[in-house]
Structures are given as structure tokens and as C-alpha cells.
């Protein structure tokens, strides 16, 4: 190959590499960009907004808000399944689907054992509990106090160990203090512009 050709090739490869790295950086950015989070209800509301969504006074309650179509939330549901495998029936688990239909996520979640599914058609429950992003997970102790509020995936749509799952496990199994604040990765539960 001629020297000119080599230089051109090097330039092309460099441009390509830079482009690819930029793209990869963008992917990173996307994956690590959390959804909006509001202040969660610090104690289980008396009127959760959905009939049947009641707290079990005998054990802690795990509450997960999921957008029925959000592809990123499938990772949350898989992490939830792992969590349930670890925790068993030590917690009462409720998954609230906000929106107008069940979607693929409902189908997936309905196959998990030991959880109760709810449909929050008007988003009342999400509003009462302060959930804005699909995948938002809250953990209330037996007394109804909020002990954890955040995400249980390490990144958007990313399966695997995460700080959120580790904290909930520690709360249940070792009864250690409070947690939360982990980023929530998922689609917005509310339509854009809606309060």
C-alpha cells in the first residue's frame, strides 16, 4: 500500500474509531441517564388509589411501578424475579401497571409467583406514591414506613447486580436501616406535559 494510501486509511480508521467511540459514549449516556424521580410517599397512603392495593401488616411490602410497554422495564421485572427468589414470601410484592393496557410487561410479570398485579389506569396510585418513571421500586416495612425508594437495575434496561437490589436484600434479610436514592431507569409513566 502506498504511503498516501496508508495515511488515508489511518485517517479513515481514526474517524471511524472516533465516530464509534462517540456513538458508544452516547449509548453510555443513554444507558446511565436516569428517569425523573419525585419524592415518594414516606408512609403507605391510606388511599393508595387502587382497590386491592393494600399493605400487609405482617410483613414488609415491595411496590414496583411499571409502564406496560416500556422495554427497559423488562430488566426491572427480571431483577424483581431474582429478588423474589432471594426473599421468598418475606415480603408482599405488588406491581402496579400504569396505563391503558396490560402490554408485554404485564404478560411477563403475570408469570412471576408471589406477586400481585394491579392496573393503575388513571395513574392515581403512581401519583399518590410519587412514581414518575417505570421501574420505580419502593419498600415499606411492616409498619408502613418507606425504607427504600429507587431503581433496581444498574442501567437502563440493564440486567445484573445493582445497588438497589442489594439494598432491598439487605433490608429484608439483615434488617439494616434504610436505603434508596438509586437511579430509576425506564420510560415516563405519565404523558409528557401532564402534571
Amino acid at each position: 500500500m502506498r504511503i498516501g494510501g496508508r495515511a488515508a486509511l489511518a485517517a479513515i480508521v481514526s474517524v471511524w474509531l472516533v465516530g464509534v467511540l462517540v456513538g458508544t459514549w452516547y449509548v453510555w449516556q443513554y444507558k446511565t441517564r436516569p428517569g425523573a424521580v419525585a419524592r415518594s410517599a414516606t408512609s403507605w397512603p391510606d388511599e393508595p388509589g387502587i382497590s386491592g392495593l393494600t399493605r400487609d401488616a405482617t410483613r414488609p411490602t415491595l411496590l414496583v411501578f411499571i409502564h406496560p410497554e416500556c422495554p427497559c422495564s423488562r430488566a426491572t421485572l427480571r431483577e424483581l424475579a431474582r429478588l423474589l427468589t432471594q426473599l421468598g414470601d418475606r415480603v408482599a410484592t405488588h406491581v402496579v401497571f400504569t396505563g391503558w393496557n396490560h402490554g408485554e410487561n404485564w404478560d411477563f410479570a403475570s408469570q412471576l409467583k408471589g406477586i400481585t398485579l394491579h392496573l393503575d389506569a388513571d395513574g392515581v396510585a403512581a401519583k399518590r406514591f410519587g412514581a414518575l418513571t417505570s421501574g420505580h421500586t419502593m419498600f415499606y416495612d411492616g409498619g408502613g414506613a418507606l425504607r427504600f425508594s429507587g431503581g433496581i437495575t444498574a442501567a437502563r434496561g440493564h440486567e445484573g447486580d445493582s445497588a438497589g437490589r442489594a439494598q432491598i436484600t439487605a433490608l429484608v434479610l439483615r434488617g439494616q436501616g434504610t436505603g434508596g436514592g438509586t437511579p430509576v431507569f425506564g420510560c415516563a409513566l405519565r404523558d409528557a406535559g401532564r402534571p
Binding site: 434496561g157 447486580d161 445493582s162 405519565r190 404523558d191
Partner: protein, 638 residues
Amino acid sequence: VTASVADRERIAARAQALVEEDRDRVFSRTSRMFAWLMIAQWLAAIGVALICSPWAWEGRERAIHIHVWLAAGLGGALSALPVALTLTQPRAVSTRYVVAVAQMLWSGLLIHLTGGRIETHFHVFGSLTFLAFYRDWRVLVPATVVVAADHFVRGLAWPESVYGLAAPEWWRFLEHAFWVAFIDFFLVLATLQSVREMRRTGERTAEAEVLSERVVEMNSELERRVQDRTSALEAANAGLASSLAELRHAQQQLLLADRLAAVGRLSAGIAHEINNPLAYVTSNLDYLDEQLPALIRDPASIAHADIETIGQDVKGAIDEARQGSERVRRIVADLKMFARSDEEQREDVDLPDILETSIKMVMNELRHRGRLVKQLDPVPPVHADRGRLGQVFLNLLINAAQALPDGDPDANAVTVRTCTDGQGRAVVEIRDTGVGIPPEVRDRIFDPFFTTKPVGVGTGLGLSICHSIVSALGGDIAVESEIGRGTVFRLVLPPSAAAGRATIAGPISPARADHARRILIVDDDPLVLSSLRRILQGDLVTVARNGAHALDLLRRNAFDVILCDLMMPEMTGMELYARLESEAPHLRRRVLFMTGGAFTLQARQFLERIDGPWLQKPYTANQVRELVAAKRAAALAA
């Protein structure tokens, strides 16, 4: 074939070239595979994005998910350059490195698109293995570096995405890198081993090629030599064929020359044989010419008894003339047999028949040297050329005749014998009582151009030609000889296929006739005697058929003229003359010699010595009468 030092150098260079070619082929093939893989990964990524995350949602509103754009855009970008390079520069090392980097980045993208599923991480190991298809361990370096760098950077910035831990140990990335290095180790080993095998294969192929070239070179050299030799042989063959044709032609010419030479040597005798009958044919015609005009002109003047006598004489003259003509015709026919010069024409021939002809030819040569004894028993026919076989017999008979010493015909003989041997083959023996062949000469007598005869007498080819003719017939010729006792040539000839069917006719004995009057006529041929008697019918004619009879008559009677043939068997005219010189010298002047030809030196010298006319056969009646009258007159004058 063994390799020389130069060959080993060629083998090494060729092996290197073959390895390079082989590696180029591997690089090209693997690059093509990666081109397809890149395109397939891109399409698969778009498919995965469309299936798993087609939409991004915000409440009830949806938009195309960023994954779809990423798969199409970033995936397309990731594949584009490697595809372009693998298609345009499939063998370039830069292509392999770009492919390696792109492939590992594809692992990251696919892991992302599948939500970080642990199963997708196997893409990394699969990709490393696939990269090893290049059989270039260096390709694994950038791939491994990309994986390590990715883990290191992410380990620092976002450990959960790599290790699933928020605060992993600092060496965690090394652990991951170890497993990548682990597989790299085996892949590098496999790659190096593969390259070694390629090299060995290259060396073996190069060795085979070089040695094969050597074999081809040796073969072509061999072919060239064979071709040269073949050309030389063809040229030699052509020369030989030409020489053979010339030899055959020469042999034919020699055969003919020898035959004609033999016949030529016998020409004196043949002329004699022809002149004798011609003599009495001519004289009888003269007689008729004289008698017939008188008979026609005035038959009444002739007495009845005379007419009867004259009629018988005329009839006799005509019959004898016819017999003489027939003899000439047969002799000419016999000569034709020897004069044939065309190609060999074999047929079933009767040996005694051919022997008879040959004997006739040589008889004049023989008769004044010795007797001829014929024991011609029937033999199986032989498939041969009549002329060539006659040539053989003629040669042997001439040799036999010439082997006899001159001047004692009673004591010498040539015996011609035919018989059949125990194997049914025809045997011809020609035996003479001559001087014999010395032992030192005997082995060479069949050699060409070997002769013991004086220059001009023999060509030295006769026996050589006899040998070749008899050998060509599948027969054999042998000689036995004893000095002073004689020689016998024995021919053994295989019978023809028709042997056993032939019948052999025996020789016919000639008729005899004697007459006697005042003029003594001495000749061995009775028809000559008869015709002369008729010409000289006005004289008292007495005839004698040989010298001894003539001497006997001369002792008892007086003759004015002695008309004597020069060449006779047993006692020639010359010998008779010699006897007269000693016994009755006065009679010498009365002798009038006649001859069909003085063909021997002895005869010519004799005729010069006697200093007088002689009668040359064929003669006319007038010549006879004139010379007889002249001789008579001379004798009376003396």
C-alpha cells in the same frame, strides 16, 4: 530423485511463497466471512432492537426507541468500515485489526441491545475464536485490548455494568481479562500450530513441486534423448532400408549375372548343341533343294525303284530336319529358364526335370572330361524358383566338370543322384571324381568372391549364390571332399506342401543309328551322320559314332576323306588325330574336322596347328561337298 543444495534453497523459497499464498488465502477467506458476519450482525441488531425495544414510551405516547437508531446507526457505522476493508483489502493487516476492534465493539453493542444479558457475553468469546480463523495471533491483541479497556474504563466509571458490583475490588478487571487471556492462550496456541502446519504443508508441497519439476526435467531430457536416438535410429533405418533395397537389387543382379556367367561359360557347349542340329537341318534342306527340282521337272525319266529310294530319302531328310528343329527349340527353351531375370517365382518343381535341363547345358563341357552317371530317383517336389534351382545345379555341375582332369574321360565321371532322405526331404548329390578341395579351402568355398579358378574363369560367386538360394528355400548344402578322390556336394531341400502327389518321369534313352561307306564320317550325333551321308550320297560313306569305332574302321579300311567332329565324348577329334599321327600319319591330311564351335583354348590351338580348313556347323550341302572335294584333292595330291 534427491534434492541438491540448490534444490533445497529453491524448496525453502518456494515453501515460503506457498505459505504466503496460503496465508493470503486464509486472510481473504476469513475477511469475506467477517464481511458477511458484519452485515449479519448489523441486520441482527436491527432485528433485535425492533423486536425487543421498538418503542420508547412517555406515558401513552411512543417514539422509535433509541435502540433501533443505535442498531441501525451505530451498528451500521461499526460494520461499514470493516466490510469495506474486508472487501477491498482482505489480506491487509490493518483490515484484520479493524475487524478485531469492530467485532469486540459489536459485542458491547449487542450486550447493550440485549439488556446486558450474561448470555450475550459469549459473543466476546465467540468473536475471539472467530478472529483466530485468521491464523494470526496478533489479531487477538487489539481485540483483547478493547475488551480490557472497556472493562477497565467501565470498572472505574460504572462498575455495576461490568461486574454487577457498585464497589468491586481494583483487580476485578484483571480477573475478567484473565479469562479473556485464558481463551486467547489456547487460540494463540492453535493459531501458531496451524501456521506451523501450514508451513510444513508448504514445505512438503514445495519439495514435491521442486522434485516433480526435477522429474519432469529429467523426463523431458530423457524424452529428448529418446527422440534423438529415435531420429538417429530412423535415419539409420532409412539408410539400412535403402541399403537393403540396394543389396537386394544387387543380389538379384548378382544372381542373374552369375546365372548368365554360367550360361556364358557354357555358351560354347550350347552353341555346339544348337549347331549340330542346325547342321543337318541345313544340309537336309540343301539335299531337298537339289532333289526336288529334278523330281518335279521330269519325274518320268526316273526309274520307279529310284523314285521309291529318293522318296524315302526325302522323307528321311524332312523328318530329320524336323527333329533337328525340335532339338533347337528345346535347347532355346532350356536357355530361357536360365535367362529369367524377374522376381523370384516359386512353384512346385521336379528336381530331376531341372537337373536334366542343367545337365544338357553342361553336357558339352563335361563329355570330353568324363562320363555322366545319372541316378535320378523320384523325389518329392520342392517349392522353389525353377531358374534359381537350375542355377544351383548348373553351378555345381560346372564345378564338377571343371574339377575333372582333362584328357581322361573314361577314368572320370560326374554322378548326379537324387533320392529321398528319412525325413522325406529331397536330396541331390553331385559327385565328381576330380582333384578334390583342399581342407584349408573347404571352409571358404561358400564365401562370396572366393575362387581358386584363374582370373576370368570364375567369379567366386557361384557357390556363395548356391548357398544363399538353398538356404532361402530352407534347405542345406554340404560338401565332402577328399584330395585326389573327388568331391560331393549334397543338397537337402524340404518338400513342398504338395509332396507325395507328384509323379516323376524317368529319362528317355536316345535312339541310335549307324551307317558306313567310303568316306568315313565320325560324329557322336547320329542325325549329323545321317544328314552328311545324305549330302554325300554319291560317295561311299561310312560312319562312326566315336573315335574308337573310327580307329577300328581306319585300321581295316582305306578312306579318302575322314570327316571328323572335333568335340566328342570319350575320344575327341583331337585325340583321334593324335592316334592317327602315331598309327597312320599319312591319314592325317585326309582328316577334315567339323565343329559346332572351337570354344576351348585347346581346341582353338589345335585347329590353328593343323593348318587347314575345317567345316563350321551349321554348314550347307555345298560347303560340305566343296571342302570334301578339296580335302580329297589335297590328299590325292599328297
